[in-house]
Symmetry: C2
DNA sequence: TTGAAAGCGCTAACAA
DNA sequence: TTGTTAGCGCTTTCAA
């Protein structure tokens, strides 16, 4: 009882015009008489016709899809809800163009080989890179494939070759640092992210640019975007500087760990030590005290990233975009 | 300098056999001489040939892709990291079959129409439904499309028509309730999820099945899987039963809210009130005290879901799977 | 403005 | 075991 799917021929027959004309209507060409257009549209809805993408793709050598490549499973995006915001924005934007989003994970070498193969095979019209690191072998594969690519978040060292949209990591970190200073805090430390990520490098830059020479190296402790890492880093910071009165942590998840370390160490927050996080993720309101943090406009970043990619596909000029962050004051600082 | 992608013809030429033979090798058919196979493989890697999926798809009328449909943005999966676990498992499994995962969101009517259109157009070989609700109009579209579908998490009311893999919500809730009873708690309430979700309905069932008639209706308060909702629900529960000594909350995020309400109300946790959550998400360790909770084997559920779908595509018999949960004891109970 | 027709790259049926 | 060939459904050029 599974009737065959109607093809463009069925529509042509039902509307009394040729396949060519049907195709023109379907693709929004203008050189079609109103009568023909109407007839075709009616036939389309009568027959329930839906274009066969494979056939179209074979002919046009465009696939109508974009691949989203997720690098680095340990990266922050995988640990919090930001990620789904991002995907939602991407699918929405693409859907407007009747394009679809294919998802690939590039966690290990095998994964990356698959992605490279996929791109080389021309299975996608464009690539959306998520949390791709400096030196990631994936980048080479992307470039060799000649598939237009944009990144969500800067790709360190490739900023000029891969357009990107990102939150203003540096500016956000500056906001955080300045806020702590304005609150009268004087002995401020920082728990950074991995320095080969933009969130790691740029947030550290922003922080040090505000505090200047007061930031000794030992006031910067490296975290890995995990909660346990944040906890360890906080303990280290307290060992280095027992009289610390504030800390800026490069992610909310790490900040949750830091909060635990501070509690263990008997410090009150924000009384003894003020804590500012980064992200404004769901975790920020689950901690006690709730985190004062820097909100990234993640949905906007994602939308902008997709906009860039679409512009690139349309062969327009594109320019990377950096979107402003916002200080969200809660209870921890 | 963008040389045209090599086709099967180029490979045939380079290896000195016919297109047909190349195709047979590529598709793993057995009736090919070893010599021919070797020649073809060499030619493939020499030319850098990658199959054109559109052409293959046009011929075979299979697309080599599966669509993952995400319903209900407010659903728990969107609020925590579970979701990425799920996607990772799905892409991995599919990659083994050289299939790809397309993502669609079905949040509003427009979205659903797009999904329906996509399915009707035969753009995917199968569908993976995530957090689809009872009565979701999407279900009808899926059925009408005749595209094989499986669900991650039971689809209430459609359990017999849409195969699924899920965590044992009922059993997990039982574990939680039994644990609280074993700890000597006697006045136990529950904050449920929305009752049209399996996590809402089944966790409530499991809970009440342990506590029996001691559960009056007013000891069950409905939450909406948000933190704010959990907080509100906890306040209500405390109003109804000021001497409550334990609460089971259907998600960690809501439990975080409940913890806040308890703090506001001056109750100590677990001293005055024990709290058990559900999920074992990242939030569970960010709260203070850290949550005792029920862990869902999310990765396994996802893998199993994909396994079901693949079996379905291979026209095998499939049976829904329910995977065991685990009690994770931390500090809140 | 429209129709006719070629051909995108592949698989599979058939013939050898 | 292999080669030949038809044709999947579409877009687009060319001619009318």
């Amino acid at each position: 009882m599974t009737r065959k799917r109607p093809t463009i021929n069925d529509v042509a027959e039902a509307s009394g015009v040729s396949r060519g004309t049907v195709s023109r209507v379907l693709n929004g060409q203008t050189n079609v008489s109103l009568a023909a257009e109407l007839a075709v549209r009616r036939a389309v809805s009568e027959t329930g016709y839906v274009v066969n993408r494979a056939a179209r793709s074979l002919k046009t050598s465009r696939t109508g899809s974009v691949v989203m490549v997720l690098s680095e499973p340990q990266e922050r995006l995988f640990e919090d809800p930001n990620f789904s915001v991002l995907m939602r924005a991407a699918t929405n934007r693409l859907a407007e163009r009747d394009m679809s989003l294919v998802l690939m994970i590039a966690g290990d070498d095998g994964d990356r080989e698959r992605v490279a193969h996929y791109l080389r095979g021309g299975h996608a019209d464009g690539a959306l890179l998520i949390s791709t690191h400096e030196g990631d072998p994936l980048l080479e594969a992307v470039e060799r494939s000649h598939v237009p690519a944009v990144a969500c978040g800067a790709v360190l060292g490739h900023e000029s070759v891969i357009p990107y949209a990102a939150a203003d990591d540096r500016g956000g970190a500056r906001q955080a640092a300045q806020y702590l200073v304005d609150q009268g805090r004087r002995r401020i430390g920082m728990i950074t992210g991995p320095l080969d990520t933009p969130g790691g490098a740029l947030r550290m830059e922003g922080f040090t640019s505000v505090l200047g020479r007061k930031v000794t190296k030992r006031k910067l402790v490296y975290g890995d975007y995990t909660q346990a890492g944040g906890e360890r880093a906080m303990h280290e910071l307290l060992r280095n500087f027992p009289d610390l009165d504030a800390v800026f942590v490069a992610s909310d998840l790490m900040a949750a760990g830091a909060l635990q370390a501070l509690r263990t160490a008997g410090r009150r927050v924000p009384g003894d030590v003020a804590v500012v996080g980064f992200d404004d993720s769901a975790i920020a309101t689950a901690t006690n005290p709730m985190l004062t943090t820097i909100r990234q406009p993640l949905a906007e970043v994602a939308e902008e990233t997709v906009r860039l990619l679409i512009a690139l596909l349309d062969e327009q000029q594109v320019e990377s975009a950096v979107l402003p962050t916002e200080l969200i004051v809660r209870d921890s600082a």
